[in-house]
């Protein structure tokens, strides 16, 4: 008990530190790894000033059908590669996939052009990466959100359930109607992890809250997202957490319309700090999933000769792979953030096990 109290005070302290750090948007704090709530733009930014380590090296990524401007994980991944290019002068490119048949051909385009590493962004590219890895044993590949068992593929997944748990805490504490919505993309394990973690987080702080779930079946259909959000808000929910990529843009759209007609509704964004894109009048907070970070880190590993084919990297709270952005403090009161911090530490320490999905 004593120990808990100690941790709690520690959290309070750090939280307040983080809050002050937010006010002055200073990217130069080298000790941000210790900053628990806010996972700041780039953990490794300070580590590498521009070098020419990547000169002559070529990195590429293939988006899913959402396209590179999905304001979500494809875009985040591309930001990671752009940063890599800036830091190391490596050549980076992307190809957008118009339809599912393009996944494999787009990957092969890069493989054939002898790119040093080709990323498949998203669960949907899992089969294509598997196939490409089989066909081209010499090529180096990597995939986000899916596990591909091949000696030349590095897989990255995230503990979305952990991060979602934290935004669930925010939602559970801040709902006024006791009704909270969840809009998912396709019903696949990745999204299920968001769903289950979020639900657990809400229930942990507000066991009476009702959660209305809706899987739209797509990551690239804002119209479906908008329709789903409209239904959920109509049912009385005041906060929606979306884990639906480009489809989620429609959720924001709907929220903005309601906001402008005078109703206070919130959206919890996903993957990136979506308050930057959609404004903090409707964005309560976001469940950051540092795809950019993962893409950057593993690409950088390759430059450093540390590419580990066959390895599966799971990035969770403790790795800062998921979390809440600094900007959360705009709309989320300090006491809620403190609670978030409390749970975060409990998860990291293993005191709480967040349910997950395979």
């Amino acid at each position: 008990m004593k120990k808990t109290a100690k941790i709690a005070t520690g959290i309070m302290l750090v939280a307040s530190l983080a809050l002050t750090a937010c006010g002055a948007k200073n990217n130069n704090n080298t000790n941000e790894g210790a900053s628990p709530v806010a996972s700041s733009p780039a953990a490794s930014e300070a580590a590498s000033p521009a070098s020419s380590a990547g000169a002559g090296k070529k990195f590429a990524m293939v988006t899913d059908v959402g396209g590179v401007n999905d304001k979500s994980f494809n875009q985040s991944a591309w930001e990671g590669l752009q940063k890599l290019s800036k830091d190391t002068t490596a050549e980076v490119r992307y190809l957008e996939s118009k339809e599912a048949t393009n996944y494999l051909t787009n990957i092969n385009q890069f493989v054939r052009e002898k790119y040093d590493l080709t990323w498949g962004i998203g669960f949907l590219l899992g089969d294509a990466i598997t196939e490409a890895a089989k066909q081209n044993p010499d090529a180096k590949l990597a995939i986000i959100d899916s596990v591909v068992e091949a000696p030349n593929v590095e897989s990255v997944t995230f503990a979305e359930n952990e991060g979602s748990f934290l935004v669930g805490v925010v939602a559970g504490m801040m709902t006024k109607t006791n009704k909270i919505g969840f809009v998912g993309g396709i019903d696949i394990p990745v999204i299920k992890r968001f769903d289950l973690g979020f639900e657990a987080g809400v229930k942990a702080v507000n066991p009476d809250a009702q959660i209305i779930k809706n899987y739209t079946g797509a990551f690239d259909k804002p119209d479906l997202g908008k329709a789903a959000a409209a239904t959920i808000y109509n049912d009385g929910a005041d906060i929606i957490f979306h884990a639906a990529g480009g489809t989620g843009n429609g959720v924001f759209n709907e929220a903005k319309e309601r906001k402008s007609s005078g109703k206070q509704v919130w959206v919890i964004g996903v993957d990136k700090d979506q308050s930057i894109e959609f404004g903090d009048d409707v964005t309560l907070t976001s469940m950051l999933k540092r795809v950019d970070e993962a893409v950057y880190r593993i690409s950088k590993d390759l430059l450093d000769g540390k590419f580990a084919g066959g390895k599966v990297t799971v990035l969770g709270l403790k790795d800062n792979g998921v979390g809440l952005p600094e900007t959360s403090s705009k709309n989320v009161p300090a006491d809620v953030l403190a609670k978030v911090e409390e749970y975060k530490n409990k998860i990291i320490s293993g005191e709480i096990t967040v349910p997950t999905a395979q």
Partner: protein
Amino acid sequence: MNKVIRLFTKDSAVVPLVAIVLGLIVGAIIMLFGGYDPILAYRSLLKKVFGNPYDFGETLTAITPLIFTGLSVAFAFRTGLFNIGAEGQYIVGMTGATIIGVQVNAPWFIHAPLAIIVGALCGGFWGMIAGYLKAARGVNEVITTIMLNWIALHLGNYLVNTFVLEPGKGRSYFVDDSAAVTIGWLSRAMDNARIHWGMFFAILAVIFVYAYLWRTKSGYELRVVGFNPDAAKYAGINVNKGVVKAMFISGALAGLAGVFQLLGVFLNQPISAGHTGHGFDGIAVALLGGNTPLGVLFGAILFGTLSYGAAGMSFGADVPPEIIRIVIGSVIFFVAAPGIIRWVLKQLRLRKNKGEVA
């Protein structure tokens, strides 16, 4: 030899060729406005399509479904029906093949043909619904086929979800090898391009549509119904039966597009939120080809080449895929507006004549 020359100097041959050239020029102008290098872009396109055996093979794979859906639309059109539902028939055909491919165990010489036949019948049945509604209730087939597209999409998802879903993958199980129609040796010879028997069937389908419509008794009946249903009635031909039959054949052709995409390319069927667009592209292909079987073949080659080459343009000249859609769109525009082309040709001829006089 003279015959050949006459064939190519005939309006019917010159007009589409000029339309393509004009479309490419308009595309080039748009690229120039956008700050892209059109010559590099078109060279990249050609390089992407013909540059190596892999991409060439993949281009053939991209063309194949377009031949089927193009034939489907053209066939319906020849019989006086506007089949907007190739998309839905494609999905239903694919679903039928998936279920047979996954659930049935049989030697290859039974399994693959069974999957193909069942898929074609499913597509045909789906088309027949619209045909029946038109014949029995007078419901316009344009409306019913559009509606049936959406029903097909969700029915397909439901069936995959219920009967053949691989848990946690968001798609069906892979079909058995015995059901696949891939051509291993040819794929290997073409650097693993996804070559399959579908393209040979597509050529057969071109011949079939020609022979059926212009050589058989029942094809003759359908054409009479299509061009002049009143005269068909006066000649004692059963118009309603003709409509149902025509929609069945049209639907089966579109269904085969889905069948071969599945058994030859994907080998599994994803749960998808939106249409693939192959059915809608079929309308454009039929238009490009003037609703003749041979024209559809060329139209599909053009359309498929441009679509597949699009990735090359965006890879080689950084042209975004949207611009490529504009190029394709302007080609179709000019083909669909032969009046414009004839006017251009007339102006050219006039100028030539004037030049001769002067």
